[in-house]
């Protein structure tokens, strides 16, 4: 690892620097007519590229999409496997798609934390004075996060396969399941961008995120069949977006086509983007 110290930098560059003379600067400034504004897509992709650069420079941030998902798979498979399904190998066929959904939906909450820390820095002021499509910085964030979700999915599927998960849907089924999960997670993340902008500190973002994410992911059919639950809980669980998504992903990976649950998952995604996307942009413009 190379570490550059502030001292070296100072002696090497600051002291020898002579500001550009007016005529040199003239050459730099004049004759560069302004190009047309970038399209909404291009601006969003550029912010997505920024997120990739951040991963390149701060790779530790991938911890939550590598170590955490591995831990989730191993912990729940061996903890519940024997008791709930008689054996680990039969439980993982049921559990893995669900735990994949749960973990990725949980990981989405880091979006709120990073929005919250980033917005405090001066660079956001610069982004907000640029003549670009307003939601682009937020969309860019989420595009970068989709890559993180993809990494988490790949890691979990690999670990799952190693300990006995065998999806009947084959590669196509698995890819369709992951794609649906990514679409939903992208949409779901808008809740966190909203909280990231709304709440004052990183800690409060974390706190609120936990309050939302734990009931939402646990009160679903990720671990067990809802038929064993009391009626009032079934009513909640059966209508939870996480249940629809977990069922859709599970069935897709098992080689079926759960049309209703896919439709529910996509419908929820659209609602989440419309509602929380709109609130996020309102907050973003208000700041």
């Amino acid at each position: 690892m190379t570490v550059t110290t502030g001292k070296d930098t100072r002696s090497a560059d600051t002291l020898d620097f002579v500001a550009p003379k007016a005529d040199e600067l003239a050459a730099l400034l004049v004759g560069h007519s302004r190009p047309p504004r970038p399209s909404a897509l291009s601006a969003s992709m550029t912010f997505g590229w920024r997120a990739m650069l951040k991963i390149k420079h701060v790779p530790e941030q991938l911890f939550d999409v590598t170590a955490f998902p591995i831990m989730m798979v191993l912990m729940y498979t061996y903890l519940f496997g024997g008791a709930l399904a008689g054996s680990v190998s039969s439980y993982i066929q049921f559990l893995l798609p669900g735990i994949l959904v749960m973990s990725v939906v949980m990981i989405t909450m880091y979006t709120g934390v990073s929005v919250n820390t980033d917005i405090e820095k001066g660079v956001f002021d610069r982004f907000r004075t640029l003549p670009i499509w307003r939601p682009a910085p937020m969309v860019g964030y989420l595009l970068g996060d989709v890559v993180r979700y993809l990494i988490a999915s790949a890691v979990m599927l690999t670990v799952g396969m190693l300990i006995g998960y065998r999806p009947d849907g084959g590669i196509v089924g698995v890819l369709l399941g992951v794609a649906l999960l990514l679409v939903f997670s992208f949409a779901f993340s808008w809740i966190w961008t909203m909280f990231g902008l709304l709440l004052r500190s990183e800690k409060s973002v974390m706190g609120v995120s936990m309050m939302v994410i734990f009931p939402l992911t646990f009160l679903s059919n990720v671990f067990v069949d809802p038929k064993t639950m009391p009626g009032w809980l079934q009513a909640f669980v059966n209508n939870s977006p996480v249940t629809h998504l977990a069922t859709a992903v599970r069935e897709l990976m098992a080689g079926h086509w759960p049309a209703a649950d896919i439709a529910w998952s996509l419908g929820w995604s659209a609602v989440l983007v419309l509602v929380f996307g709109a609130v996020t942009m309102r907050l973003y413009n208000r700041r």
Partner: protein, 322 residues
């Protein structure tokens, strides 16, 4: 009016019970450096943020090149650029990455953005640091990359919010040189600062802001004339002689004399009232009178009025108590 870069009328911004900006009227001619001078918390940054479309005014109106900053924010954003008080670049990215990112966001193709960032980094003496993360830059280098990022597209109006706060004198001079070069190309600069000498060095007109209000506005000459042309700092050998020295100085300079915390030091303002002598001549006379009165002076300095003195003078004249 097309030759005004900025025009505001009764601009107000309220945070809770704090009226951070409390009715500011500004008229900034284009093609000049306009200084906004004031202490911490005077409302400078808040005013700049409203002009740069980052904050919505709670009252009054503001326009940049004739476009309203609220209704026509997008048009304003196309012509301005902001260098905030803290570095407005991404510390995790390298110098090149920061400039390429902005270049892309301003609509340049990837090769054009790369070329442009290379040119700017070289011109700003950052070529060697181009591939280092900005968080490893020194304070002066951060300022330079920040300004480089701001002129990537040659803005018509550049906001520089306290560009030299926290910099060593050498880096400060470098920033000043850059600002002069940018202005020479026709860009209007709105500069906020806490330092009178910085406003003096760069700005052609200055507004002094305190408690969210403009308390004085004018060219440098006008402001100085209103404040007094300088101040005399005197150090005596014997603290017992200070009351006498106060009387003599007050009489000779026709001004109020401040007693400093140091028991042998005094400060008096040299104003132009009632005499056509220059500040140095008045000071020399006062010194001679001190000698005649038998007061031993160990050290003597004639300086620019400090920001404190500017504020004292300006608030005194308005008849308000500080």
């Amino acid at each position: 009016m097309t030759d005004l870069a900025i025009e505001t009328e009764g601009l107000v911004k309220v945070f809770g019970s704090n009226r951070a900006v409390d009715g500011i009227d500004l008229r900034v001619p284009s093609g000049t450096v306009y200084g906004v001078l004031g202490p911490n918390g005077a409302g400078k940054t808040t005013a700049v943020k409203m002009l740069a479309t980052l904050l919505r005014p709670d009252g009054g109106r503001a326009s940049v090149f004739g476009r309203d900053v609220v209704k026509d924010a997008d048009a304003v954003r196309g012509r301005v650029s902001l260098t905030g008080q803290y570095a407005s670049v991404d510390e995790d990215l390298t110098g090149t990455e920061n400039l390429v990112l902005l270049g892309r966001l301003l609509g340049h193709t990837r090769p054009a953005a790369r070329e442009r960032s290379g040119q700017l980094l070289t011109a700003f003496g950052l070529a060697e640091a181009a591939d280092r993360q900005v968080k490893n830059y020194s304070g002066g280098m951060r300022r330079r990359i920040d300004i480089a990022a701001s002129i990537l597209n040659t803005p018509d109006l550049l906001f520089l919010d306290e560009p030299t706060t926290g910099l060593d004198p050498r880096s400060r001079n470098q920033v000043w040189d850059i600002v002069r070069a940018v202005v020479a190309q026709g860009t209007t600069v709105l500069l906020t600062t806490q330092y009178l000498d910085e406003a003096d060095q760069l700005a052609s007109r200055i507004a002094v802001i305190d408690h969210g209000k403009v308390i004085a506005e004018g060219t440098k000459g006008e402001l100085k004339a209103s404040v007094g042309s300088g101040s005399v700092h005197v150090r005596l050998r014997d603290p017992e002689q200070r009351p006498g020295a106060e009387r003599v100085l007050g009489g000779a300079l026709n001004a109020t004399v401040q007693l400093d915390a140091d028991p042998v030091a005094l400060t008096a303002t040299v104003n132009g009232h009632g005499t056509d002598l220059g500040a140095a001549e008045q000071a020399a006379r006062a010194l001679a009178e001190l000698a005649r009165a038998g007061i031993v002076v160990d050290d003597f300095a004639l300086g620019q009025p400090s920001l404190d003195e500017v504020f004292l003078a300006l608030t005194d004249r308005k008849g308000t108590t500080a």
